[in-house]
């Protein structure tokens, strides 16, 4: 067990706790403020009288946002797109990242440059649309799942992580008769939970927030993801005086309610991913 080093650390501990608490307050305050506004009486919000403490608590804004039938279809759609899309992205990205981390692979430089160049040069909105149309994917789920399957950034980050994977383990795997695919699936991936969890999170969040591409490529409302519906609802805040009865439609209230509806699932799911970032994941590997 680690030797307990004592009082020299205390000052450090106090400092770090203060620092972290400051960070928490700085980030939590605006979020609580938004929450408070979303559940306050809209007239009070309009008057600017609502701060951290909500006034006239009611859920009329949530009812307005959620009463839209399309919310539920789009929520379902988004969950599908995120789950399937992230799985797809992780598989393709991890396979490619592993492959590219092996500097010996033939054409290694060529492929890497191929990939990096796309970070700078791209066709643009119209050519990409025409390509997707040419592939017959317009107005299908593939238009949402495929064009964002790989992010060069994520690919390169994952490659860096695989770079650091201990050579000895791979070599012992080869001695045991595993080919490259086997090494990846049996040895590397199980020990790479941290990076898989983070990159998976990045992909998932990016897909969750996707608005513009689905907006452009989809026409059938039944396929729309959540963000399209939410952004649409937000526009109601710009013109309505009275929406649905007595509720005064206040843009700020509406906006913050929509934000909370949008990020709530992520906040709920995230803690389950956190355990993959805990220290000591690599522990078993070297000793074996």
């Amino acid at each position: 067990m680690a030797v307990q080093v004592r009082s020299r650390i205390s000052a450090f501990t106090v400092l770090k706790v203060l620092f972290l608490l400051a960070a928490v307050v700085a980030t939590l305050y605006p979020l609580l403020y938004m929450l408070s506004i979303s559940i306050s009486d809209t007239t009070q919000v309009l008057l600017g009288k609502v701060g951290l403490i909500p006034k006239g608590v009611n859920l009329s804004m949530y009812r307005f946002v959620l009463r839209d039938q399309r919310i539920f279809t789009s929520y379902r759609n988004t969950i599908f797109y995120v789950l399937v899309g992230t799985a797809l992205s992780l598989v393709v990205t991890a396979a490619a990242a592993f492959s590219l981390s092996k500097r010996r692979v033939v054409f290694h430089r060529f492929f890497t440059i191929l990939v990096v160049v796309t970070m700078f040069f791209g066709g643009g909105m119209i050519p990409t649309y025409l390509t997707i149309r040419g592939l017959g994917m317009i107005d299908t789920i593939w238009a949402v799942l495929l064009p964002s399957a790989v992010s060069t950034y994520n690919l390169l980050v994952m490659r860096t992580f695989f770079d650091g994977f201990p050579k000895e383990i791979e070599e012992s795997g080869q001695l045991d008769g595993l080919n490259d695919v086997g090494i990846l699936t049996r040895l590397v991936l199980p020990s790479s939970q941290a990076v898989l969890a983070s990159i998976g999170l990045f992909y998932a969040v990016s897909r969750w927030n996707a608005y513009f591409d689905p907006f452009l490529y989809l026409n059938t409302p039944d396929l729309f993801p959540l963000q399209i519906i939410l952004r649409d609802i937000l526009q109601a805040g710009q013109t309505n005086v009275v929406g649905g009865g007595d509720t005064l439609m206040v843009e700020e209230s509406l906006r913050y309610t929509a934000v909370i509806v949008s990020i709530l699932p992520i906040i709920v799911v995230y803690p389950f991913l956190q355990k993959y970032f805990v220290k000591g994941v690599m522990l078993g590997a070297v000793k074996g």
Binding site: T43, L47, L130, F212, I233, Q235, G243
Partner: protein
């Protein structure tokens, strides 16, 4: 004023000659009455239409208005409801144009889409089909004044213009009548009176900013569009023209370099320095402005006429006696007028796709919208179904406000109006709002004369014009805030001129001349 009418008549006469030349089929007009079945089309026709959706009244197939259209015309409308009204709608149109999958009709908000794609050939020139659209022709002949705004530089008209609903964009001065009366103040009629009233209010309520308005941070002169005409000048705008047409001299003038503009900026600088307007007046967001107006931190504003009800409803919940009312416009400076800028402006309508598989059906469908019956049905609906007559006045059934009318019946939603009777909306307004409309309408100044441009001219506007505008925006803002002393005005005028105002202005003069010459 009279000269203005003569000149616009001349312009329009020449324009109409250009139009007449474009009419290919000079034969006798086709049948203008519905076919034997009583419907506009004998057999059912499917027409696709792309519309920008509004979230408070998203398109519904079983709306009264949708069913009415089918009943009257036998047209099955395939509506492509795009869930965005802003730039994202434009992008959606752009990719559909690039791929060739364009709906038979696009319903745009504003002229941007028509201007961008019209001359590329995306939309049909409706003037070529006037023989097939006699109702439209009849309306056009009677409304040339109005329709010219939708025309293109090549003499073509790529849009079936809508008329009537622009009233919804009307803007006015508004003031807190209760606060004024309480303190024995009268609404000001001149800028001097305005200054003294504001000073008085500031004295009485030191923590207030008596006069507040919201603005577009990236286009601060947008607010001045409403104010400048009362000072005898005008602010530049991409939609109403960057140059002011002076009816007296028949020349185009660049507003932001005029003396009257300088006087206006000097006046607003005074307001700013004395804290009579908020320090962030040029960038104030709608949210903050709304809070100040409802919370009685401000007592005067200029904005959409609908704000009267918008503020009175919550305002009265909080402050008994809260009374926001129409205020007659304020004459600015010595060169000004007590009339108010033309604000009831809007450009809507149908854009017919030139390569539609059944263009003849599409134009015939558009023609229906110009019949008096269509106008009546799309504005009011039918008695008993959508409205009833109460005390000799029409009242919508179960729909106290405009948004209810839209939500419930689909009336006056995007895609479903061409000739709109605005009285339909007015019938739902509070007495105060109705009175505001009545008082505001006679005070309108004429619209600016903005000619259509060729793509080459548009390029100059995009480049030279954008540079001029950017500098003007910057310096005008700085003068107003006092970041730059007004003594440097002359220098600023020179700077703007050096950036190419003349070149920019020549484009306008040229474009106007072209339309006039077309008659020779």
């Amino acid at each position: 004023m009279k000269r203005a009418i003569w000149i616009s008549a001349a312009v329009l006469l020449s324009a109409s000659i250009v139009w007449a030349g474009g009419n290919k089929e000079g034969k006798s007009p086709a049948v203008s009455a519905p076919a034997a079945t009583g419907k506009w089309f004998d057999k059912p026709v499917t027409i696709s239409m792309m519309i920008p959706s509004h979230p408070s009244w998203p398109y519904q197939k079983d709306w009264y208005v949708a069913k009415m259209v089918k009943e009257q015309t036998n047209v099955d409308l395939k509506v492509i409801d795009v869930l965005d009204q802003s730039s994202a709608f434009d992008d959606k149109v752009t990719v559909s144009v690039a791929s060739g999958d364009v709906a038979d009709i696009i319903f745009p908000i504003g002229l941007a889409i028509q201007k961008r794609f019209g001359e590329q050939g995306v939309f049909a020139n409706v003037l070529d089909y006037t023989a097939k659209t006699p109702n439209f022709k009849k309306w056009l002949d009677a409304n040339k004044n109005y329709a010219i705004k939708f025309m293109s530089a090549d003499g073509k008209l790529y849009q079936y213009p809508a008329k009537g609903i622009e009233e919804t964009n009307r803007r006015i001065w508004m003031y807190r009548k209760d606060v004024f009366e309480k303190n024995g103040l009268k609404p000001p009629r001149t800028s001097d009176e305005l200054l003294s009233v504001l000073r008085k209010l500031k004295e009485l309520y030191p923590s207030s900013y008596p006069y507040a308005f919201r603005n577009n941070a990236n286009d601060p002169m947008q607010f001045m569009l409403m104010i400048a005409p009362s000072w005898g000048t005008d602010a530049p705008s991409a939609t109403t023209g960057e140059f002011r047409y002076d009816w007296a001299t028949k020349e185009y003038v660049f507003g932001p370099t005029e003396d009257a503009f300088r006087d206006m900026i000097a006046f607003y600088h005074t307001l700013y320095a004395e804290k009579l307007i908020p320090p962030n007046c040029l960038t104030m967001t709608a949210t903050e402005w709304q809070t100040m107006m409802t919370g009685s931190q401000s007592f005067m504003t200029v904005d959409y006429i609908g704000r009267i009800d918008f503020f009175n409803v919550p305002g009265r919940k909080v402050t008994p006696g809260y009374d926001l009312q129409y205020m007659p416009s304020v004459k600015g400076g010595s060169k000004g007028t007590d009339k108010f800028a033309a604000s009831a402006l809007g450009w809507y309508g149908f854009l017919p796709f030139s390569k539609s598989a059944h263009l003849d059906d599409v134009v015939k469908f558009c023609d229906w919208w110009y019949t008096p019956k269509a106008s009546e049905l799309s504005s009011w609906g039918e008695e008993g179904k959508t409205y009833s007559v109460v005390d000799g006045k029409r009242r919508f059934i179960d729909a106290p406000a405009v948004e209810n009318v839209r939500n419930k019946y689909g009336l006056s939603t995007n895609g479903f109006y061409i000739l709109f009777d605005y009285q339909a909306h007015i019938s739902t307004f509070s007495p105060e709002l109705q009175s505001a409309y009545a008082q505001s309408m006679p005070m309108d100044l004429p619209e600016n004369l903005c000619p259509p441009f060729t793509p080459a001219e548009q390029e100059i506007i995009n480049l030279t014009g954008a540079n001029v505008m950017r500098h003007a925006q910057q310096q005008i803002s700085r003068f107003l805030l006092g970041n730059r002393p007004l003594s440097e005005w002359g220098q600023y005028v020179k700077e703007v001129q050096d950036l190419g105002v003349e070149k920019f202005r020549t484009v306008y003069t040229q474009a106007l001349a072209r339309i006039l010459n077309a008659s020779k």
